[in-house]
Symmetry: none
Subunit: 288 residues, 2 copies
C-alpha cells in the first residue's frame, strides 16, 4: 500500500471520474487506473463499480474512503505540525536557572525573548548551578545559565555578563563604614550561604580556605529573598551578586578588598542535538 494510491483513490472517489482526477493530480489517467487496480488487488476488494460509464464507489469503497480520508488528514496534520516546529511556531526549551542568577538576569531575558518568539515555550528548571551543570551534562536540559568560570569539557558556553560578589552586612554591622573589606576579617562572622549545589557557595568556601579559616555557616537556603531577610535582621552576613545587592535597601553591600568576579553565561551540551528553538534562543542571547 502506498500513500499515492490512497490519494488517487480519494480524488477519484470525490470526482467519480478517473480522467478528471488525473487532471487534478497532474498525472495521466492510465496511472490512476493502474494505481487503483493495484490497491484493489492488495486489499482484495472491489472499490469501484465500473459497470456504468461513470465509475462509482462500491459499499466497501465507501467504507474504505472514510478510513482513507481520516488517514490522509492525519498525515496532513502531522506534516503541518512538523512545519510548525520548523517555523518555530512550536517548540519548547528546557532551561535551567540557578537562584542567584535567575532572579535578576532571567526575567529580563525571558520577557524580551517571549515578545520575539511568543510561540516558544520556556520550561524553567530551578536548581543550584552545580545541579544544573550535571543535568546539562546528562542531556536532561537543553540549556542552562551557569557560572562559566568553572568550564566543563562536555559543555559549550556563551558568556552573557559579569558580576561581582559583594559582601552583605546588616546595617548595624561594625564593618559597614569600610570602603572595602579584606576576606580574612570575616573569620569570626556567622555566614548565611546558598545551598551546597551552587558554585556561588563553592566560591565563598574557596576564599575561606585560601584565608585559612573554616566559616561558621549558621544557615543555608536556596532563596535569595530569605538570605537577604536574614542578613537585614542581623542574623549573619552573606554574599550577593552586585546587581541583586544594589536593589536591597535594607542590607549594606561592600566590595571585598580582593574583589570576586564571576562570569555568567549560557551553557549546553557539546554535540548534543539542539532543537531549532534552542538554537534560536542561543542566537538571541548572542545578540543581547
Amino acid at each position: 500500500m502506498e500513500l499515492r494510491q490512497l490519494e488517487y483513490f480519494q480524488m477519484v472517489s470525490r470526482l467519480n471520474n478517473i480522467t478528471r482526477a488525473a487532471e487534478r493530480l497532474h498525472v495521466t489517467q492510465p496511472s490512476i487506473t493502474i494505481a487503483i487496480q493495484k490497491l484493489e488487488d492488495e486489499l482484495g476488494v472491489t472499490l469501484f463499480d465500473r459497470s456504468q460509464k461513470q465509475i462509482t464507489l462500491t459499499a466497501e469503497g465507501q467504507v474504505f474512503l472514510q478510513r482513507v480520508e481520516n488517514i490522509l488528514r492525519s498525515i496532513q496534520d502531522a506534516m503541518l505540525e512538523m512545519n510548525d516546529y520548523r517555523d518555530l511556531q512550536k517548540g519548547s526549551i528546557k532551561i535551567g536557572i540557578p537562584p542567584m542568577i535567575g532572579s535578576f538576569l532571567f526575567p529580563e531575558i525571558f520577557a524580551n525573548f517571549k515578545t520575539l518568539y511568543p510561540h516558544l515555550e520556556l520550561c524553567i528548571i530551578e536548581e543550584g548551578s552545580i545541579a544544573i551543570r550535571k543535568l546539562l551534562e546528562k542531556g536532561e536540559l537543553d540549556l542552562g545559565i551557569v557560572i562559566i568560570s568553572h568550564p566543563s569539557p562536555l559543555l559549550e558556553t556563551l558568556p552573557i555578563t559579569k558580576g561581582e560578589i559583594l559582601l552583605c552586612l546588616p546595617p548595624n554591622h561594625p564593618l559597614v563604614h569600610c570602603s572595602s573589606v579584606p576576606f580574612f576579617q570575616l573569620r569570626g562572622e556567622s555566614f548565611i550561604l546558598l545551598k551546597e549545589d551552587t558554585y556561588h557557595r563553592q566560591i565563598i568556601m574557596e576564599e575561606c580556605s585560601k584565608n585559612k579559616f573554616t566559616p561558621n555557616i549558621i544557615l543555608s537556603s536556596s532563596q535569595i529573598e530569605t538570605i537577604r531577610g536574614l542578613v537585614a535582621k542581623g542574623v549573619g552576613i552573606s554574599f550577593l551578586l552586585d546587581v541583586i545587592a544594589r536593589k536591597s535597601a535594607d542590607v549594606i553591600s561592600l566590595p571585598l578588598s580582593e574583589p570576586l568576579f564571576i562570569e555568567i553565561g549560557l551553557a549546553w551540551k557539546k554535540d548534543k542535538y539542539l532543537s531549532k528553538a534552542s538554537q534560536v534562543f542561543i542566537e538571541f542571547v548572542k545578540n543581547l
Copy 2:
C-alpha cells in the same frame, strides 16, 4: 512522504538503532538512513539526535512518532476491515447442523441467505448437537445450530425457534388413537433413537430415568429418514420434532401428556473473532 519512510521511522524510534531496524525490516541499513534523511528533509525538522553512538529521538521526533503510530495503526485497521469484506465476497462460514434440526430448519434459512449473499459459502458440518457444541467450544466451527436449553458458559446464543418433541408411532400401534400419551406407558416399547452425541437422545433418556425405566433401544441412527422408515415399518417407536413429524404421512405423531419443548438457536464461541461473513449470518438470523 511515503508509508515506507514512516514504517522505517517507527521501527528506528522503537529500537533506537538503525542497524537493528534494518534487520527487522529485512533491508540494508543504508536504505533506512537515506529514507529517514529524506523524511527529515521533507518535514524540515531533525527527528533524530545522531551526536551519540546511539541515535535517539529529538523532541520534535517524539511528537512526530505519536502521530505516526496513530497513522500506521489507522492504515492497519483499514486494511483489516477490507480483508473482512474480501472474506465476505469469497469467504465461507463453517456451520454445524445437527440432523434433527438441520433437516427442517436449515434448508429454509440456507436458501434465503444464499439469495442475499450469493458469494458466501456455507460449509455444513453435520454432527450431533453435543458434538457440535464441543466443536464450537474448541473454535473449530464458526457457528452452530444447537438446542440452547443446555447453555454453555463458553458460547453465545441467539434463539431461533421452539419445537415440541412428539411421539412417533407406526400406524398400526395400539396407542395411535390417544390424543396424548403419558411417558411411562412407553416402558415396554422398542425405542429407535438418534445417536449418542445428540441432546435430542439425552432428553428422551432423561424422561425415561424420570419415569424409572431403562428404555429398550433397539437401534440408533443419525438419519431422520432412516428412523422414520423404521417406525413406519413397525420396528419400533421414536420421537421427532413436531415440524418434521407433521410432514411424515406414514407415521402417526402424538404429543406426550407432559409435552417436551426444546429451544433451538444459533451459537458461537464467546470472544472468538467472528469473520464479517459470520457476523452477517448472525444478523441475518436475527432478522428472520
